[in-house]
């Protein structure tokens, strides 16, 4: 199945604006993002800490709905999902 990952702001500069990738059934959001930053140490270091957990400032969305990073490991992606990952917002 296919999912789209969108990076914004500083993460976009380190990775890509978006990546469309094929994943297996039962892939969690955490596993997905970990996988797509496999060959990008700068992006991975910006997003994950040394234990492989999300850094405190990371914000995740699944189809526009906020997903707590602490829940991302148990939240599975579905075909056609749009996963977004970004630092704290600074509009206004």
């Amino acid at each position: 199945m296919s999912v789209r990952i969108r990076f914004f702001a500083r993460f976009r500069e380190l990775a890509d604006p978006e990546i469309v990738t094929e994943v297996r059934e039962g892939t969690s959001i955490t596993a997905l993002i970990y996988a797509v930053t496999e060959n990008n140490q700068a992006a991975r270091d910006a997003i994950f800490d040394q234990e492989g957990g999300f850094r405190r400032y990371v914000i995740l969305m699944q189809n526009g709905a906020r997903i707590e990073t602490t829940r991302a490991g148990e939240t599975m992606v579905a075909d056609g999902d749009e996963i977004a990952i970004f630092p704290p917002v600074a509009g206004g």
Binding site: R56, P88, A90, G91, G92
Partner: protein
């Protein structure tokens, strides 16, 4: 009008359109690019989600503060010093509702709407630190 756009905003037109029957107070917040030794500012949005959030904030502000109208225009792209970044126009029967409603919208935007700003400087670019609460 709730919009995320590259084009500038016509503030007079928004004020004129905010003159609803029953309105006694119109408040305009205009956030502009401040001259903090920057050359330009670059704004980026997660557009679909940001627009939906702005619409949600406008509805919440109207319900909580009795606003008669809400317009929010947030610009993206490259902006020079002094250019409009964010224009919020609210109208209400009385001044208190207008001030409170406008401020509510502004704080909610800063906290919740996926938009980011980068300051472009001769000495190197810098992402503006967010004010969002990361629960």
């Amino acid at each position: 009008m709730i919009s995320i756009q590259r084009e500038d905003v016509d503030i007079s037109r928004l004020v004129q359109e905010a003159k609803h029957p029953g309105a006694g107070a119109i408040l305009v917040f205009d956030g502009i690019v401040r001259n903090d030794d920057i050359t330009e500012m670059e704004l980026e949005a997660y557009e679909g989600v940001a627009l939906r959030e702005l619409e949600h904030i406008a509805m919440e502000a109207s319900a909580q503060h009795g606003l008669l109208s809400v317009d929010i225009v947030h610009r993206i792209g490259r902006l020079r010093v002094g250019e409009n970044i964010l224009v919020i126009v609210v109208s209400a029967a009385h001044r208190k509702e207008a001030y409170d409603g406008s401020r509510f919208i502004l704080e909610a935007i800063k906290e919740k709407v996926p938009i980011w700003k980068k300051e472009l400087r001769t000495g190197g670019d810098r992402w503006v630190a967010g004010e969002s609460k990361n629960h």
